[in-house]
């Protein structure tokens, strides 16, 4: 006879409970897919960010521009450096403006690997006379050649440190177009000492080739190549310190430029924002999957309590019982591990593929191993508790179900003498099998809570992702630069001149360029009043300079003190220019009439827009909230001041208690006086002197500072939010009338509209063109197209991730719930038989289960909705109380019980259908079939 060991028993048991084990295995597979998928995903986020950085800047850690052969060989033998490549620059080429030229050169093999050129078209050069060029280099020079075409440019040969004077012509065949890297490096790695006015000698630029010829190409006779070293640190972790090391050890070996360590731009933003979302989601998912495994194991245990009791009764030791469970779990884990790893690998790959091409899928062996280990650990942890509990069961306790008696006493259950069978049964089941019901309810609560928050939030962000107005904006306007009393009173403020604008407009790709100008003017007031008092606290100029309040002061006392004392800076300025009225500094913003109409036409709160009078400077618009509220509160040891625009007027004011509120005292049709302070000083000079004055605690007022006053009529009050000028209080005029309010200035922003529709290729071209156009300036380029793409992609990515996760969660949730409910149904076989034997019809039996499910769903679904509502409104309350820190995120989250309720009903329907089917199959069999024990 075959010996009957415990493992034989375990295996036989496994076979007998096939269905249950399939469910259990599925649960485990699900949770392992979650956990390892999350790890894969996170590793891909890192890999994608790195890949993105490589594509933007190349793989090198630092560049040494204008280096020497000697330095190169020293670098090659340096133990701190792993790889050294060299770029050989042979000449610089341009069409008519030498400042818009680029360097031509070739890279040795190592340099080529490090530089990581990305061909968008064609191939790299392989024969003399061939060239592959970065797209923005071609754009910058105005070379219009297609791949395969020849072009001729003016050239100057390199001579080691610079270029020879003599100009000759170079003719090349364009064989490939590359994505631009020089522009990014120039902007983020080389801009430290860039002298804007002195663009004639930008060695940095010319030492870095943007046009590549085949290796070994010589300079023109009499020239000597410029060498640039591409350096990779030996220790990846020490790459940050490389710049320091190079500047100490290779001080005179060339201009050192460290490659930025983090990727930039929208794609990097996307990748990292998804990574962040992924992290939070992964935590939730891990918890959910652990709960799933735990629930499955627990149900399995409950299923077998009696069996365990019997085994214990015939003499199995605790260790043996635990051994049976452990063996089974191990067996299941071993089956599910490869399956789930493979599945999560391909699922992640699919997901990453859907996210767009800046994501790369590069999970390494390490991640795979960690994922596997992690999955096993999850299973082990989740099964440990039921395992220990199983082995602790005392034999009779398990056989008799003495637990129930204990619960009965604990819960003080009263025997009923009149009852509805189905409702009493359902109630008792809920009491006696609480843990299991709770796990189902929790799962449900989790799902519904997620649905209540995630679905409306997503829908909302989908709706609000509106298309933007221009195709591109280039701007030097970083916020409220216009709101100091006079700091834009200087010549040269703003970057873009009329000729910049004209040269952009001359580009055939561009249909229209409109400009925005900005300066600050002072609005003359007889008295400040509550409204301006409140707004003034928000400006960068403190009209008041109150002492820091005492901890014991009340809100009102703090507020009174805050508004009482006028700052010496303000007094000094008033005195200097001889004002007898009060001054409120505001930004005067000017845009072209079409833009003005488009931006403010629909936002008029009071009055009307008369374009003729705006163009002539007779009228002006005020973009401001009609009411503002002020509140102050202690936040730790600091003071949190809150100034809220209360556009909604009365109702918004009522929702919150403010220490101070004010309504706009100026109305459409009023006459106001604006006074600009102007000086002949250049902006840079002013900045230097002002910084020096600020160090000694003074305000710097130039000698030639004078005021230009102008009286105008307020044409209309317009709403300030979401418009072009993001200040709380600004004055709006047209560019035509702008000089009347002081002196004319350069544009701070140029809005660019392309001829025809923008697409990805044109966007790349235009971005590179604009990058070249604004090279060296402190300017941001905003591509509205890219932003819209980014928003769309982000939405798509969120949609894919969210719906994928929700589906998986839903599947897992339904799985867990059904698993639990069917386990119960199995256990209940005998009860069902008994009920049927004493005359319960199938409907009564069904009703027991339906009531039970209804209760669990009401608890879980209601609990989920309530919890998410609590979370949401709690968060709202929190942001209301701490608006300064949290205003920005506040708007992002939405809540609606509708999708949650719908989900709940759907799940209930699914559960009812499945459980109902199972029940029907059970009641269909003869009564004794059910009663008979196995």
């Amino acid at each position: 006879m075959k010996t009957f060991t415990l493992s034989v028993f375990a295996a036989r048991d496994l076979r007998r409970r096939k269905k249950q084990y399939i469910a259990l295995t599925l649960g485990i597979v699900f949770s392992m897919i979650f956990s390892s998928g999350v790890l894969f995903f996170l590793s891909c986020v890192d890999a994608s960010l790195e890949e993105n950085r490589f594509r933007t800047y190349g793989k090198q850690d630092a560049l040494l521009l204008g280096t020497t052969e000697d330095a190169l060989s020293r670098l090659r033998s340096d133990p701190k450096i792993r790889a050294v490549g060299a770029a050989h620059v042979i000449e610089k080429v341009y069409t008519d403006d030498p400042a818009k030229g680029s360097a031509v050169g070739w890279l040795d093999e190592t340099a080529l690997q490090l530089a990581y050129p990305i061909l968008t078209e064609g191939r790299m050069p392989s024969a003399p006379g061939e060239v592959a060029a970065e797209r923005d280099a071609l754009l910058r020079m105005g070379v219009d050649a297609a791949v395969g075409e020849r072009f001729t440019v003016a050239a100057q040969a390199a001579n080691g440190g610079g270029y020879l004077e003599s100009i000759y012509e170079s003719t090349y065949t364009l064989v490939g177009v590359l994505a631009g890297k020089r522009g990014a490096l120039e902007k983020y790695a080389l801009n430290r000492n860039v002298v804007i006015a002195d663009r004639e000698v930008p060695t940095e630029v010319f030492g870095l080739p943007a046009l590549f010829v085949c290796a070994g190409t010589q300079t023109a006779p009499g020239g000597r190549e410029i060498l640039t070293a591409y350096v990779k640190a030996a220790d990846e972790k020490n790459a940050d310190g490389l710049e320091m090391y190079l500047s100490q050890t290779f001080a005179n070996a060339g201009e050192i430029a460290a490659t930025p360590r983090s990727a930039a731009g929208f794609s990097a933003m996307r990748i990292s924002s998804l990574g962040e979302t992924g992290q939070y989601l992964s935590l939730i998912l891990l918890a959910a999957s652990a709960a799933g495994v735990f629930g499955a194991m627990d149900a399995n245990l409950a299923d077998r309590k009696k069996q365990i009791g019997l085994l214990r009764a015939v003499g199995a030791t605790r260790a043996q019982i635990a051994g049976i469970f452990a063996r089974e779990t191990a067996l299941i884990a071993l089956i599910s591990l490869p399956v789930s790893l493979a599945l999560s690998y391909f699922l992640t790959k699919l997901l990453i593929g859907l996210l767009g091409d800046e994501f790369v899928f590069l999970p390494d062996l390490k991640t795979l191993l960690v994922s596997g280990g992690f999955g096993l650990a999850c299973i082990a942890a989740a099964s440990a508790v039921p395992l220990v509990r199983a082995s602790r069961l005392s034999p009779m306790f398990a056989i008799r179900g003495a637990e129930m008696n204990r619960k009965m006493r604990k819960k003080r259950i009263r025997s009923k003498s009149f009852f509805s069978v189905s409702s009493l049964m359902a109630k008792r089941r809920l009491t006696f099998a609480r843990r299991r019901q709770v796990s189902v309810a929790l799962m449900l609560a989790f799902l519904t809570g997620l649905a209540a928050l995630a679905v409306p939030t997503f829908l909302d962000s989908y709706r609000s992702s509106a298309r933007l107005r221009h195709d591109f904006d280039i701007t030097s306007d970083f916020g409220r630069s216009g709101d100091a009393m006079y700091n834009t009173a200087f010549s040269g403020y703003g970057y873009f001149t009329e000729s910049d604008r004209a040269s952009l407009a001359a580009n055939r790709e561009i249909a229209a360029v409109s400009g925005v100008k900005k300066c600050s003017v002072n609005l003359l007031l007889d008295e400040y009043g509550d409204y301006f008092d409140t707004l003034a606290l928000r400006g960068s100029v403190r009209y008041q300079s109150p002492p820091f309040p005492e901890k014991s002061m009340t809100k009102r006392q703090i507020a009174e003190q805050a508004f009482a004392k006028v700052s010496p800076e303000y007094e000094a300025f008033r005195e200097k220019l001889g004002f007898d009225r009060e001054l409120f500094s505001a930004a005067l913003c000017a845009c072209e009439s079409a833009a003005l109409e488009a931006d403010y036409g629909g936002a008029v709160l009071e009055g009307r827009i008369d374009m003729g009078k705006l163009l002539s400077g007779e009228e002006i618009l005020i973009a401001a909230p009609l009411a503002v509220g002020y509140d102050v509160a202690w936040s730790g040891d600091g003071l949190a001041e809150t100034i809220l625009p209360l556009d909604g007027g009365e109702s918004a004011l009522k929702n919150r208690s403010f220490t101070k509120t004010g309504t706009l005292p100026i109305h459409a049709g009023d006459r106001i006086t604006l006074s600009a302070a102007v000086s002949g000083l250049s902006f840079d000079d002013w900045q230097k002197q002002n910084a020096a004055a600020a160090e000694s605690g003074k305000i710097f007022l130039p000698d030639d500072l004078r005021r230009i006053d102008r009286e105008v009529t307020v044409g209309a009050i317009v709403a300030p939010e979401g418009r072009v000028f993001l200040a709380d209080f600004s004055l709006i005029t047209t560019t035509a009338a702008f000089p009347l309010f002081g002196v004319d200035r350069n544009y701070v922003t140029l809005n660019i509209d392309l001829a025809g529709e923008c697409d990805a290729a044109r966007n790349d071209e235009m971005t590179e063109y604009l990058a070249a156009f604004t090279a060296g300036k402190q300017v941001e380029i905003y591509s509205d197209f890219e932003y819209a793409q980014y928003a769309k992609q982000r939405l798509r990515a969120t949609l894919v991730t969210l719906s994928g996760i929700l589906t998986l969660l839903l599947a897992a949730g339904i799985g867990v719930m059904l698993n639990t409910l069917s386990a119960q149904l199995r256990e209940d076989k005998r009860t069902i038989g008994t009920l049927r034997a004493v005359g319960a019809d199938a409907r009564t039996v069904g009703s027991v289960y339906f009531r039970q499910m209804l209760a669990v769903f009401a608890l879980g679904g209601g609990g989920g909705i309530a919890a998410s509502a609590l979370l949401f409104f709690g968060w709202r309350l929190y942001t209301d109380l701490n608006p300064i820190e949290t205003n920005a995120i506040r708007g992002a989250v939405r809540f609606s019980p509708v999708p949650a309720a719908a989900l709940c009903l759907l799940l209930l329907a699914v559960c009812c259908a499945v459980i109902g089917g199972k029940k029907r199959r059970q009641t269909k069999r003869s009564v004794t079939d059910n009663i008979r024990e196995l």
Partner: protein, 221 residues
Amino acid sequence: MTILECKNLTKEYYSGENVVKAVDNANLTFEQGEFTAITGPSGSGKSTLLHLLSSLENPTSGEVIYNGESLKKYNDNQLSILRRRRFGFVFQAYNLVQELTGMENILLPVMLDKKKPDEGYIEKLVDVLGIADRLSHLPSAMSGGQQQRIAIARALANKPAILFADEPTGNLDGKSGREVLSLLKYVSAEFGITLILVTHDLGVAEQADRVLTMRDGVCKN
């Protein structure tokens, strides 16, 4: 008057290749108010016969006729109603609902019928069965005999027309067993309940109006 009869009643169980004829072609009639005892060795098919007669099990062939109507014509709902109003069943293994207390188990058929319980009657049952102090306990806190008596009370709670009892005194000591039996006889006389009882106890069988003996599925008077 014949209340229950069966014609050519057969039940076969299949276990792999083997066919077990648990009940083999039984033709029996039961008169109203009659007390029938079924005896026979273990595994002879007594329980199976009882299950078949009480509609808890479907026969392989043959039919059961209650009050002149074949149970084949009954649908599941009608069978349920029959079971809770007209039949009472005491299982060999008691089969109490574990989640319900003693009293609740007793009242189960009455409550399934959504009727008001006849309190005096139930009290009397409980009293005679000696289970008054166990009524608010769960079955898992009762001894085997106590569970058995609760099961008997449950079977009688609705004053059934026929009481099927599978060894109702098997777990009781001699004295209790006799008391339970006299209760059964008393109610059967009082309410005209037909008793069909499986027993190994010859003393019990002696008190029956009629004794059926089973051997290998075959039933003999």
